[in-house]
Subunit: 155 residues, 2 copies
DNA sequence: TGGTATAACATGGTATTTTATGGGAATCAA
DNA sequence: TTGATTCCCATAAAATACCATGTTATACCA
């Protein structure tokens, strides 16, 4: 039994005329391992699609039920938006999912999808938008290096 | 039953035409012991590849989850940079991993890889860049000897 | 201590498997 | 029927496992 389930790496796959895309094999492995499904929804903050395992959404739902103060009212509203928008995606025998028009349009994806790992979640970008976003992030880091607890101290 | 483990030493191995390199056997031993995997990503600050165990990243993911909330902007940026760039590497029966073009290019590695232990992490440099870097570090120490709380003694 | 046998390792090459992706047939719904 | 979705097959490319060899390090013995 594996202990770690992280969506990692950045993978570029093609979207064909029918709207089909290969889900990266690493991602597929996670879904199989957890015997769950992939869920996607429009990102609330960026022009991209966001995805995670259905497991995670269940956990989120459970958290909301059990605690009142952990999630602010705003976050509760956001959560509603996500649940309302989220759709389950299963992949066929060759590992492809079929994204909806709504999602593709929101992410401005036409023929190329960039899968970006985010640990428990992942994102799907158009090539153009991701290029810009990555640049923005690296600039930001240059000016203000974040301290990651688990990473310890170098230098 | 966590045995202590540290990535140590400096080891020079060849990179073949396919990008394959032998992971130092000491490193392999650690991976086996913890039954985890190696994860590599581009260093944010230096022209080198950085690596650690997937365990460590998993811990980081947990930290990020607990310290910020589901929709936080800081979490968003951080996770994109860290997990989006990191890639899992497993080694074959002869102990080799296959580094990607992206990583090799960032570290300016062509045919020789220098593994440098950093405790919980390690780095992979090109021979030229590591020579320079080591010199720089030793110069820096000479001019401004750091005070180590643990009372370290360098000859 | 010196010398040899043995094991571990790095590394080149090759074979096998996995994966991405295009196209078409079958299925289903409006 | 028509348009869309699912399923299946084919193929090329990429990743991975496997085998072989020379070299280095380690263990062993006189």
């Amino acid at each position: 039994m594996r202990k770690t389930f992280l969506f990692l790496d950045t993978i570029i796959n093609k979207v064909d005329a029918k709207g089909r895309v290969s889900l990266p094999s690493d991602y597929r492995a996670i879904v199989k391992e957890l015997s769950t499904e992939i869920v996607c929804y429009r990102s609330l903050t960026s022009p991209c699609i966001e995805g995670c395992t259905e497991d995670l959404l269940e956990k989120l739902a459970a958290d909301i039920e059990s605690s009142t103060d952990f999630f602010s009212e705003t976050q509760d509203d956001l959560t509603n938006l996500v649940f309302g928008d989220a759709k389950r995606f299963s992949f066929d025998s060759t590992g492809r999912i079929m994204l909806t028009e709504k999602l593709l349009k929101h992410a401005e994806i036409t023929d190329t999808a960039v899968f970006v790992g985010k640990g428990r979640k992942f994102q799907i970008w158009s090539l153009e938008n991701w290029t810009k976003e990555e640049q923005r992030l690296r600039e930001k880091i240059k000016n203000n290096r974040p301290s990651l607890k688990a990473e310890g101290n170098n230098d």
